[in-house]
């Protein structure tokens, strides 16, 4: 087994591969996250995203990775009634809402392509797991209590699905409602989404969180996606298929 946690893209990233002898693969996947950070960071002035943010560039000048992320962002904006928007209120581009889930999905694909069937990748709570733990059990994922980071409030068995949580994070309000710029989203504090893979979970978690209380109803209408939202008063609401992923 190989397992390591490093801080990249401003968050802890953990990779665990159950199969033996794959320490190099873990290093490779961390190197991949580092290249994603260099290209997509809105905080690094020399990143490709920062360059595009400053001045429009022809599509042909962009890397294939950035074109793919922009295409996913544009599709997500359509699918979420405009609630997912990588353009921030100040006009700058911030594709972080997609890049995290996208990078975790790609990392998981790399590990799978190397022949592994039992692993997980966790980037700041965006999680893709596959197969079983070293003990041969299902991966068990806890949803953190948004009011107390030492507690979990739900235990999920994703069985190959991706999981992402959007919320009012440590650094404060980082998700904006594009229809009410400048207004903090204050009625819900944490939204966990289970999707076919971690990218799907991540992009819909971000968008549904921006919808506030209506987000969970939006998720209920979408096939293949389940959600668990916690509001400011500690009341949780779940979609009808969410229970199937819950264990104790």
């Amino acid at each position: 087994m190989a397992r390591d946690t490093r801080i990249l893209m401003g968050m802890p990233i953990t990779i665990e591969i159950v199969e033996d002898g794959l320490r190099d693969l873990v290093d490779d996947v961390f190197a991949y996250f580092a290249t994603v950070d260099r290209r997509f960071s809105p905080f690094k002035p020399d990143s490709e995203v920062s360059a595009l943010s400053r001045s429009p560039l022809p599509l042909s000048d962009l890397s294939a990775d950035l074109r793919e992320v922009l295409a996913i962002a544009s599709r997500t904006k359509r699918e979420t009634l405009g609630y997912f928007d990588i353009r921030r209120p100040d006009g700058r581009l911030d594709p972080s809402g997609i890049v995290k889930g996208w990078a975790v999905r790609n990392a998981a694909r790399r590990i799978e392509a190397a022949g592994c069937q039992h692993f997980f990748v966790d980037a700041g709570g965006d999680i893709q797991s596959l197969g079983k733990t070293a003990k041969g059990e299902d991966w068990r994922i806890g949803i953190r209590n948004p009011f107390n980071d030492r507690e979990i409030i739900k235990v999920l068995v994703p069985r190959g699905c991706g999981i992402a949580t959007s919320g009012t994070y440590v650094r404060g309000q980082h998700i904006y409602d594009p229809y009410r710029p400048g207004q903090p989203i204050d009625d819900i504090v944490s939204l966990t989404v289970i999707g076919p893979d971690v990218l799907e979970a991540d992009r819909f978690a971000t968008a549904a969180f921006a919808m506030g209380k209506a987000g969970i109803r939006f998720l209920e209408e979408l096939p293949g996606l389940e959600g668990y939202v916690v509001d400011l008063n500690g009341i949780a609401t779940q979609t009808s298929g969410f229970r199937a992923f819950v264990t104790s």
């Binding site: 953990t14 994922i141 107390n148 507690e151 979990i152 235990v155 994070y169 504090v189 400011l232 009341i235």
Partner: protein, 156 residues
Amino acid sequence: MKRFARPIALVGCATVALCATIDSSAEAFAGPLFWTAIGHHNEAPALPADGTPAVELAANARRYTNGSFTGPAVDAYYGLVQVQVTIQGGRLASVEVLQYPSDRRTSRVINSQALPILESEVISAQSARVDIVSGATLTSHAYLRSINAALHQAGG
């Protein structure tokens, strides 16, 4: 500050009634009895001295009056919606939908498309072991900011 209870109760009800029209008639929907039952003073928690993010849950801190409280039947345009809430041990234990539109074919279609009955619960800590954790963490600071924004919206 007392009015702050309104959006709180709304969440509990609206997630069960689940339609946009309910939100607009929320006051009639919830009813004065319900508000009286839960309209308790809510205080923003003090920042812990050590800066840890352990903030007491508002839902757990508030003591409601025990019992079952039935809201009035409210016209939600396509039919009537009525719920009953049960408070046990001072906490919101369950919300039961007493009636919702299902007697007409058109209503049923609207229901299946726009009125999923979603389950709500008060969150509670689990002691089970997990391999990985997914979650947003609220620091006390962010929590207080949210409380203040909510109070502002509530006219407090």
